[in-house]
Subunit: 367 residues, 4 copies
């Protein structure tokens, strides 16, 4: 264990024997300090949307298929011109130093090992360069919380480009932080500095609450910002936090090269629909003009299948991967992805789908 | 603590550190005597409608919006030609002396401080004049439980006009009291006199149960009564307790200048729909001819948002405010409104709405 | 307490202070012996239909009405040419000696006192003549479980006619007994003789289980039986246990003068719909050709209202009345009816309905 | 008790006094060792589909009927040219030696006694010949888990033909095993050899987990396999594990003489619909071209009725029968079928259906 600034960080490094992803939460809770765990696990207001995110997967039912002449399904896929061993990816979650002393470096390392896409948050505990290096050349995306200060934005984007990022995820659903009661109960303030903020005058985030951190962020994001970032970086910009056809079209019109359907894991606007409940409608609007990434509530191989069958090209999750990080470092992260991918393969076989493209075309029942 | 007639009244006066409104109930229960608490918190019959009032907000889902170029949302609004800092207002609840020794005076003071509308009940613990004075010039409405005795009605209306009331809320859904089991279990009788009843021969309400109090009320209210009150006072009459398009149109036809959609917080007819489930249909019938006030079940900023997006111009609540009154007097009342308004502002920002007018036009999902 | 054949019968006689009907079950359970209580309270198979019978009332919502110029609602009604003080009646439940030493005599006495219709079961503990006498001239119906032995049937019908019965309820949904697990668990056998069976060779029912009792009943009932009974008695025949438009029309075609919608309180076919869920469709088919009686699941004034608004002319219940019988004899029975009728009156007032005819025409929401 | 390879097998032989089938699970759990019980009772992933299988029967409601002139219903039926005393049959469940020392022999004996169809699994504990002999000439089906090794397949089919099997059930929904967490928690490996595997090089299954067993199975099944088996055996081939009209039509096109609608009792693809929820649609597609067998979730007579009324010709179940086997051997198996058939008869009578053909035509409500 590493004690940093009074905060006990896990420094475990081991493969995990995983029964299922939901069971990781209980284990991780034992070793992540209360404030950090509350920040990672919590949602906003009464957490209705947080819980609905997962239970709403039951609104979609996979039809078992047989006699389809399918075996040995493969989860290999190509999206954004990049090849992955799995459609499962890391959602760009902040402050992974809360879970492990190596933070995002270990996450990137574990993901690279299993051929899954890493997305790094602006508010990461390790720097863009260090995280990139840990990924050993595997593709990474950089997620931007747009600041009011464009010098800051340009500086981060410069670093991302320099580090070889393959895409920029622009988060648009967090112009103010959701009302997260667990952080208030725990009076949570980030004990670990945020590497990307360190060189700026506002400080490195250490000792601040999420509300203060977000205060530096832009409270107003418009299509012009999407275009500005795309032109500046020449990288594909994926707009994250889309829950409506309207926003998807605004983003594509502004030059977005990807739509990221998410309600921020139930951490922002509570009282909105489960993210999986809007995915299909958004995907219909996107109409294959650009790839679609989905997150919020994914815990099972069948969830990944249902998201793909509803229009997603990549399916992201964060909390279970962070629990794997706490429990096993880079190897723990790899174990989580492997387990979930194994569940997905079973589902693919039993649904008569041989490739990820087949899954995307699979008929499902929507209730 | 103040002991009045053997009843222990809170006399706290302090700002409250509020996590959320539902959590206030537990705290308030500790300091409000059993009979008073049962009267305030209870509903009728098996309380199905009471509970449905709040859970039915999940039938409506707010769509998170981004890329809408919105920041710094404002809750300022103008209704009935009156300006408020928030669309949240006090529902005209009876007998607030049950919660605090200063009763409605403290409530009015707290609301005035935060720019929210006070509505005072006929059955208030403090008089019309005293409550008005405590409001320091902020607008107030007076709520009338119409008596069989028109002398009594005229006398109260005279007082209200004299005290500067800006509108009369005529309650029409309580011509007999709902079957409230907690009052029966507690054998509840009002321990505190009702100031507005004091000068009349029926007595001041002290030592009576709600059934006896209501017995003096008119059991029959017709459109003609609406017209009579409007003509007598020259004030806008808002008809409260409307749950159908039919009643809304009857009221407007009779000269009502406002429609107040409410099922009395689940305290009257049990087995009817959640109030939020009928709001939209009633608002469509009203068709912007007059403003719409809504109450019943509101506990969250997202509830306020959903009510506004379903046709309300003002959104009222009572129980949580009364709990704030018990726990903190006028400052407690202000704390409750501030907290709820802060939740609302977060929701407005995350739903891409800058003004209350924007919220009213926001697209929501109705299940 | 009376000990009969080793079975402890209540002989209480007192008015009851009733909070609500559901709360009577708990109290009655304390004084009715286990086997008798299981027989009275239980349903068939896993009791899904039993529970659905009550919870399905939430599928219907009463719309509160105001400004309707209504006060002082009256529950007086006239059905089958008979005048009642309430539309609430006794369902023809068997073996009330299980609950009270005076059995159906006390029930009839209590109902007569409050102007409610008594219906006596073939399997009653007291005889047709004795029950009739206890009713002091108030109208009664006699319910027939048709035997395979027509001598027996004619004999009972003769007695009923002689005793002045105003109608014959022919039960058609019990040609075999439902699979009632509580009777099996308790190895229940009737400890009290059934007065109407006493003079027949099969014995008086004492020491038999319900399966044996029903074994003597006809397992096959056809429209011709309805006609036969009507012609023999010259009394209106009401066919009980109808849950479909098809059976209602068959019955009317056969000369039935009333349709009794019931699933036997969830005691017969489990896995069928809640009775309230089919009432409206059946009533539409009946199309006012004959009156409709409804039972199954009624516990609240709002339930009575909803049944009337869905097509019923009379609303029956048994279990809560039997619990009242156990707890207070004839006075207990009267207390139950009075309480339920009081709840109904409140609901009528708050829904803007002045008469039972108004309730029947009230608009409700069906989910 | 028999100790085999350290595993405690029941060797009880007795009639059972059954209250209902769900209650058998609790009793059986006490005498079946943990690993075996987990294997028998468990489902896949989070068992959503397992539980939905049973609760979804509430989506269908049987309409009680009367005045239909029906009595003495009979459960005799003829399907596949074979006569049975009941439409209830044994689903082809593996490894019944886990429950009883006599395994499938006792099951076959018990079923023969009550005139119900036995279906034996490839992975049975007793051999095809021994199981057939125990059935004393009653019809049996043999279920094939198709191996990659056709020599193996032919050998088993030869044995089945020789033993007089009346049909071959080809399971197509298990080309990989579902993700069953209880087996993983228990680290379950089959302690009892599988008789039909004993002569092959892969071993007899003893000491292997289900994943290893399934590894020898074909992961790819196509319509051509159906045809190949039909041609080789000249027996009717029933394709098991169909949950869609598409697969049903593929199977019939390939020469299937029966469609077996099943989701493998919730043990294979989790996140799919309850089997009863797709039965009607599949049966409509089958359009009486071939008989339909149904399983998954059946526990009650009313479930059997609902499945028949939704298109099934035979209704199978396994877990409750295996619990009966553990608790009472062959007599226990017979007791389970008898009890369930008795519940069915009551339901038939109360729904006005005299024959199984009547049940198939009965009108039900689908929600």
């Amino acid at each position: 264990m590493t004690i940093f600034n009074g905060y006990e960080q896990s420094d475990r490094e081991q493969k995990l024997d995983i029964l299922n992803l939901p069971s990781l939460e209980e284990e991780a809770k034992k070793i992540i300090p209360t404030g950090g765990f509350g920040y990672i696990s919590g949602g906003s207001e009464d957490e209705w949307t947080l819980h609905e995110n997962t239970s709403a997967f039951n609104h979609i039912q996979i039809i078992p298929r047989a006699l389809t002449d399918v075996d040995q399904p493969s989860t290999d896929t190509e999206v954004f011109g990049l090849k992955f061993k799995t459609p499962i990816m890391m959602a760009p979650a902040a402050a992974q130093g809360l879970a492990h002393s190596r933070g995002e470096e270990a996450t990137a390392e574990g993901l690279a090992e299993v051929g899954a896409l890493m997305a790094q948050s602006t508010y990461s505990s390790t720097s863009i360069a260090d995280t990139a290096a840990a990924g050993k050349g595997a593709p990474q995306f950089f997620q931007l919380y747009m600041s009011k200060d464009w010098e800051f934005n340009y500086s981060l984007l410069d670093e991302a480009v320099k580090a070889g990022a393959k895409g920029i995820i622009l988060t648009v659903d967090a112009t103010v932080d959701g009302y997260r009661e667990s952080d208030i109960i725990n009076n949570f303030q980030f004990p670990i500095p945020m590497a990307n903020l360190a060189k700026f005058s506002e400080g490195d985030g250490k000792g601040k609450g999420i509300m203060e951190i977000y205060a530096a962020a832009a409270q107003k994001i418009s299509p012009a910002d999407v275009r500005r970032i795309a032109e500046y970086t020449k990288l594909p910009v994926i707009v994250k936090g889309i829950e409506s056809a309207e926003d998807a079209l605004l983003a594509i019109g502004a030059g977005a090269k990807g739509i990221y359907v998410s309600n921020h894991g139930g951490r922002q606007l509570n009282g909105g629909p489960a993210s999986i409940d809007v995915l299909h409608e958004v995907a219909v609007a996107v109409n294959h003009q650009v790839p679609v990434i989905f997150d919020s509530g994914v815990r099972r191989g069948s969830h990944v299948f249902k998201a793909l069958a509803s229009g997603a090209d990549l399916v992201a999750l964060a909390r279970p991967i962070i629990y794997g990080l706490a429990l096993g470092g880079a190897q723990g992260v790899a174990s989580v992805i492997n387990h979930l991918n194994d569940e997905l393969k079973i589902d693919m076989q039993l649904a008569g789908t041989k490739t990820i493209e087949d899954v995307k075309k699979a008929k499902v029942i929507r209730k």
